[in-house]
């Protein structure tokens, strides 16, 4: 789970947690995501990054889109709309998936949690209202956009679970999510991975926004983390960002802008051998990818989005987002490069208008490891069938 690209709403709405996050903002630097006010930086990027990568930090997950899907056919329409493995999802479990269009191209990310037998929570980066309504037509299901009604507090970092436990919110295991009550406030808790960082997401009614926040901070005065520090964690983890590293198929103006799951490095989120989901047939029959989105590690202090990536002296791609990783002491960037130069030695220009080039190589991330394991598994399965 992570945020989509920032938008440019002049006066974004305050999230349910705004009253709390505003109090922590020393820089008063804000941006808008999905029309919601999000802190760009609270105190300093370096401090926030350190807290999240070494201990734990609070993040306001309010800008994500949230839907509840309830009814006898809820699992059916979510299995149709998303690639998440709905059939295997037990109560209190969560699964990651993608939303694909009829041509098999990625529209959005989807995190699905089964709250009870026929009640599911769907979190996505962009608005899926229309798609949900279309998918639900003809089924016994009720879809509600609950984005404005819940406060969503995230805890990211290796110490996230302990910090939650210290506040009396117990997350049992990595895969478990639960519904419970803390001091009379109804909560839904699930574990998430926000970029590279493991985390916990706590959702509860918007009216109680400050109750849980205060409770969390009273036990341990955790810092909050803003969008810029999250961006470093995200690139370290190898999670592409919607609207930055690739465009949603719904926003593409030509078919060449659409991206298949495998092209953005997430084939493991849409396995072609899973039961039918929207776009699966088209995805399976699609031509082999012309380009891949990969994370590169560059021997340079700066690489800016828009810079060219070279192979054999020719430009073969471009950088889509970049960050300096304090932990790795390296510059990492997402770049989209031609499929046939993946195994070549690469160079990246240090800026969109720069003539300087620095050596670049593929960087292994948590996400790319999963993708590689998945591809190996698929290849082995195909070979054993032969």
């Amino acid at each position: 789970m992570h945020f989509p690209a920032e938008d440019h709403v002049a006066e974004p709405r305050p999230t349910p947690l705004y009253a709390a996050t505003a109090g922590l903002s020393a820089t008063n630097s804000w941006t808008s995501i999905n029309g919601w006010a999000s802190a760009r930086v609270y105190t300093s990027v370096a401090e926030e990054y350190r807290a999240a990568s070494e201990d734990a930090a609070l993040v306001d997950l309010g800008p994500m889109r949230r839907y509840t899907v309830r009814g006898a056919d809820a699992a059916t329409i979510l299995a149709r709309l998303t690639t998440a493995p709905m059939n295997e999802l037990a109560v209190a479990e969560s699964a990651r998936g993608l939303v694909l269009d009829a041509s098999g191209a990625v529209v959005d990310f989807a995190d699905v949690t089964r709250l009870s037998g026929d009640l599911f929570l769907l979190t996505s980066a962009t608005a899926l209202d229309r798609r949900l309504l279309l998918a639900a037509r003809g089924f016994d299901v009720e879809v509600n956009n609950v984005g404005a009604q819940v406060a969503a507090l995230g805890l990211v970092g290796p110490g996230a679970r302990e910090a939650a436990a210290a506040a009396g919110i117990d997350v049992l295991s990595a895969d478990a999510s639960a519904q419970g009550r803390v001091r009379g406030v109804e909560l839904a808790i699930r574990s998430i991975s926000f970029g590279a960082a493991p985390g916990v997401e706590i959702m509860y009614p918007a009216e109680e926004a400050l109750v849980i926040w205060e409770r969390m901070r009273r036990k341990r005065p955790l810092p909050a983390i803003g969008v810029e520090a999250i961006e470093i964690l995200r690139i370290e983890g190898g999670a592409p960002r919607l609207g930055v590293d690739f465009i949603s198929a719904d926003h593409a103006v030509s078919p060449t802008q659409k991206r298949l799951p495998t092209e953005i490095g997430l084939p493991h989120l849409a396995p072609p051998n899973r039961v039918w989901f929207n776009g699966r047939r088209a995805m399976k029959n699609a031509a082999s990818p012309g380009q891949y989105l990969v994370v590169l590690s560059v021997d340079s202090d700066t690489v800016a989005p828009g810079a060219a990536v070279y192979a054999r002296g020719e430009p073969q791609g471009r950088v889509t987002s970049s960050a300096f990783s304090p932990r790795l002491k390296r510059t990492l960037c997402f770049a989209e490069i031609e499929a046939d130069v993946l195994d070549r030695s690469l160079e990246a220009a240090t800026g969109p208008l720069s003539a300087d080039r620095a050596a670049a190589r593929l960087h292994e991330t948590a996400e790319s490891r999963q993708a590689a394991t998945f591809r190996d598994g698929l290849r082995a399965a195909t070979e054993s069938r032969r």
């Binding site: 059916t76 149709r80 709309l81 798609r131 003809g138 089924f139 929207n278 047939r281 088209a282």
Partner: protein, 493 residues
């Protein structure tokens, strides 16, 4: 010794190459084509799409379902299946059209369009050459688009672009000194269409009416011997000759889909026919939503099935006419087509009224089926089938609407045959038929439905795959050809 135990449980049939759902003309054509190519084909004749026998609506007078006229029968199907040998014949070809205008004047448009100029001269001497040139040019354009209309690739833009984007009004207004010629063309284009002639892309509808004739098919507008049933009977014989197994059942439960491929048809009692190829000639909602199920179809695809369709419709009224028709212009020549062409504003008003739920049609097409088939009416009497367009779509149970249609039909009949003293001894109306969508929309819909479900081995040639009005068989041919290609390429193995 004990008898071998009979296996209980539903029956599962194998060894079948293709199942065709729906005994519509297109379904029959597809089944026969596949069987002639050597496939073992089972055709399932099920509720929807079954044509009824002719019915007696007044004592001694019969009416038949469907359009009594055909203009665009697919020549490739006729040749391939040898339909003429199987009994397809015409009781009238190159029918002429007697057009009656709002001022009472008449134009006799000949069955041979090459004579259009002479006919127009009778109405307006000044327009004769111009009208002949216009018709000739139209036929030429129609000929270049014939393949596209029948399901082929879109033509190169340069040739079709102008024709494709114009409205009928854009193509004809101001062309002729006598505006009644415009009224005639406008009425032809409006008949059965949901788009009014002033709307863009409607000129295609006019061209499509000429396409069959232009391709040298059965010669302009023709009356099939025995009407729609005559065609079905010929196709059935072709199916029998090709050893298609025909079964009647209303118990189809659904299509079996295994992974992304169809694997056969399942019945209510659990019985199955396993086949790697299914051609469906049933309506799209039955074919996809009922038989396959939304849960296995792309959201974008099912959305196309859910789109609201036009509320504008046509309705066919049947008259039992007792005794001879004394109108001098209609007179004894009943083996023609009669068309009521309203003035521009009246047609515009009729569309508006239809959209608001009324039955005040603008265009009317009159045919005397008994002139082609004597058995439809007693000796010396006649049956008349009058198609009214546009009207609102209402069920037959709506009495007020029924009365309005009856009045409108009698009024239209009176205007088509002003001098006739008709003794009407019986009246009946058919269920309203939804108007055809604009042709470009129909072509786009056909493309989506036939290509985009993504289910391997499932081929659609139902009513939504048709473009424009009238029976054509080309959707069945195209589906059959695609299915055969799939079969030969072994896509199912």
């Amino acid at each position: 010794m004990t008898e071998p135990r009979k296996r209980a449980g539903p029956k599962i049939e194998g060894g079948i190459d293709a199942v065709v759902l729906g005994a519509t003309p297109d379904g029959l054509a597809a089944a026969a084509l596949l069987a002639r190519a050597g496939l073992h084909v089972v055709l399932i004749e099920t509720g929807a799409g079954r044509l009824r026998e002719r019915r007696e609506f007044a004592q001694g007078y019969f009416a038949a379902d469907g359009d009594p006229l055909a203009a665009t029968l697919d020549r490739a199907v006729i040749d391939e299946l040898d339909l003429y040998r199987h009994g397809l014949s015409y009781s009238g070809r190159r029918l002429e059209t007697l057009v009656r205008f709002s001022d009472g004047a008449a134009l006799n448009f000949p069955g041979d369009p090459a004579l259009a100029g002479e006919a127009a001269a009778a109405l307006s001497e000044a327009d004769a050459a111009n009208f002949a040139a216009f018709v000739e040019n139209e036929r030429k354009t129609a000929r270049s688009l014939t393949d596209w209309f029948s399901g082929g690739e879109a033509p190169a833009l340069a040739a079709g672009l102008d024709a494709a984007s114009s409205s009928v009004d854009g193509a004809i207004v101001g062309r002729f000194a006598d505006s009644r010629l415009e009224d005639y063309l406008r009425a032809e284009a409006a008949l059965g269409a949901s788009a009014r002639p002033a709307e863009a892309f409607t000129y295609l509808a006019l061209l499509q009416r000429w396409a069959g004739e232009a391709a040298g098919l059965q010669g302009g507008i023709a009356a099939i011997e025995g009407g729609g049933r005559g065609l079905i009977n010929a196709l059935r014989r072709a199916c029998q000759a090709a050893s298609v197994v025909i079964r009647q059942t209303d118990r189809v439960k659904g299509v079996i889909v295994e992974w992304d491929r169809v694997a056969g048809v399942e019945f209510d009692d659990g019985a199955q026919i396993r086949a790697p190829l299914i051609v469906t000639a049933l309506p799209a909602r039955d074919s996809f939503l009922d038989f396959v199920g939304r849960a296995r179809l792309d959201v974008e695809f099912t959305r196309a099935l859910d789109l609201p369709t036009s509320a504008v419709a046509s309705v066919r009224a049947h008259f039992a006419i007792n005794g001879p028709i004394s109108d001098p212009q209609i007179g004894s020549r009943l083996d023609r087509r009669f068309l009521l062409a309203p003035a521009t504003l009246d047609l515009e008003r009729a569309y508006r009224a239809a959209a608001e739920g009324a039955a005040a049609p603008g265009v009317a097409e009159l045919v005397f089926p008994s002139a082609f088939d004597r058995s439809l009416a007693p000796e010396g009497c006649a049956t008349a089938a009058l198609l009214l367009h546009p009207v609102a779509e209402r069920p037959l149970t709506d009495d007020a609407w029924r009365t309005a249609v009856e009045n409108a039909a009698k009024d239209a009949l009176g205007r088509l045959a002003p001098g006739a003293q008709l003794q009407i001894s019986g009246f009946d109306i058919d269920e309203a038929e939804r108007a055809a969508p604009p042709i470009l929309a129909a072509i786009e819909r056909r493309r989506r439905l036939t290509d985009a479900s993504g289910l391997e081995g499932y081929f659609f040639c139902g009513p939504e795959a048709l473009v424009g009005g009238g029976v054509s068989l080309s959707a069945g041919r195209r589906a059959g050809e695609r299915a055969l290609r799939y079969f030969k390429e072994g896509g199912f193995s």
